[in-house]
């Protein structure tokens, strides 16, 4: 029988590590979005 605490530790490992990736991936997408919007606005301002 698998020791419950090891099973729980494995879950913490899996959810924790993938959680860090997920959080930073969301931040990555948001950062890209900020840059796109800001740079787009600045370009439009320059053109006009």
């Amino acid at each position: 029988m698998v020791d419950n605490s090891w099973l729980f530790a494995f879950r913490v490992f899996m959810w924790g590590f993938s959680g860090v990736f997920l959080a930073l991936m969301v931040l990555l997408l948001c950062t890209k979005a900020i840059s796109a919007v800001v740079r787009g606005t600045e370009k439009r301002k320059k053109k006009s």
């Binding site: 924790g16 590590f17 950062t31």
Partner: protein
């Protein structure tokens, strides 16, 4: 004979030397070692000096430094106990340090190349591997998490998480974290050379685009909302860091920015160092546990470096514009030391390769990654 002179007897009984034990002397040795490393070798002197002094004074027998007694008007605390109970046990000091870190940090390189956030996440690999390793050594899950976070190479986050999950390990964990942060230039380069080819180390990266002020102002606001909504337990650290960064980038609160990165940061660093050092009394510290923690800290740090490097190599399989895998090693948070190490190792093979600014991206991403990992540990284990 002394019984005839009760006051003299009382004075002699209260002289520290009478109560000195070999354990105290060993701890003095450790204290002097850290003070020596700080002064003579320049290893993280801002922290190792007060920590070393804290270790020394808490191991002076009978000195009222870290005690707490029940008095007529509630608990009576000794001097450093106040710093500990109201600064560290309440989590205030690590969060204020994060405000200072935010005020000192330029997120520009990360905003210019957001892919580096992935490297910051990958460099948390060591945190989770060591979490397992510590469990293997017989530590509880909470203790294992607080030991694993040493791999993030982020002192305040390590103290923040440890004081929640395993306050009895605070001294050993903090000392391991700051010691390894100081030893980044010794630990990382062999691993970096082992896992990369000369050709990879010589990859030159395109110069980063300039990042506008507007982007730098919006980033901490969006970062606060995103990270604190996804991992609310990381909010105290992340919110303070992004507030400090907003002070810096807004350009309208120069006095607050200056205070956050100078006076405030310096003051809380004194309290933090002393209080952490003072948790290391001989009775609590001289056990096999701290030695295991030091070994596991090294494992954590090494695997974090490996995680960042391998992720950078993996990303290169899919990217048109290759990244130099050395910057992956900077995903451990030790800012800016890890980025400098990437630069130095890169320049050994190509002296005209300037990696510093590229490495600052994963370096600051690593700070966010470690705080997020700490928040997730708190969510799952608290």
């Amino acid at each position: 004979m002394l019984e005839n002179f009760p006051l003299l007897h009382q004075i002699i009984a209260n002289v520290g030397f009478v109560h000195l034990t070999p354990g105290h002397i060993i701890m003095w040795g450790i204290a002097f070692l850290f003070i020596f490393l700080a002064i003579k070798k320049g290893f993280e002197p801002l922290l190792l000096l007060p920590i070393g002094f804290g270790i020394l004074i808490v191991n002076l027998p009978l000195a009222p430094i870290m005690g707490i007694t029940e008095g007529a008007h509630g608990p009576q605390r000794d001097l450093v106990r106040w710093f500990y109970d109201f600064g560290i046990a309440t989590e205030i000091i690590p969060c204020l340090i994060f405000m200072g870190v935010g005020a000192l940090t330029d997120f520009g390189p990360m905003i210019a190349n957001p892919k580096t956030l992935i490297l910051g996440a990958a460099a948390q690999f060591g945190v989770y591997i060591t979490f397992f390793g510590a469990k293997l050594f017989g530590f509880t899950l909470k203790e294992a998490a607080s030991i694993g976070i040493i791999g993030g190479a982020d002192g305040p986050t390590c103290i923040y998480l440890t004081s929640f999950l395993a306050p009895h390990l605070l001294g050993a964990n903090a000392l391991a974290a700051y010691s390894y942060m100081a030893m980044v230039p010794l630990i990382q380069p062999p691993i970096m050379r082992l896992l990369t080819t000369k050709k990879e180390r010589m990859i030159r990266m395109k110069q980063l685009r300039p990042v506008s002020k507007t982007e730098k102002i919006i980033f901490p606001l969006v970062g606060t909302v995103v990270i604190c909504m996804l991992v609310p337990a990381a909010a105290p650290l992340m919110a303070m860091m992004f507030l400090g960064n907003l002070f810096r980038e807004s350009g309208v609160v120069e006095r607050l920015n200056h205070a956050a990165q100078n006076e405030l940061l310096n003051i809380v660093t004194i309290f933090l160092g002393l209080a952490v050092g003072a948790t290391m009394s001989a009775e609590k510290f001289l056990h096999p546990q701290p030695i295991f923690i030091f070994c596991l800290g090294l494992v954590a740090f090494s695997f974090s470096t490996i995680g960042g490097l391998l992720m950078a190599k993996g990303m290169n399989l899919f990217l048109k514009e290759k990244i130099n895998p050395l910057i992956g090693a900077a995903g451990v948070s030790a800012v800016p030391m890890a980025a400098r190490v990437a630069q130095v190792v890169g320049q050994k093979d190509d002296p005209k390769n300037f990696l510093l600014m590229h490495a600052m991206g994963p370096n600051v991403a690593g700070v966010i990654g470690t705080a997020t990992a700490a928040g997730l540990f708190l969510t799952m284990l608290k």
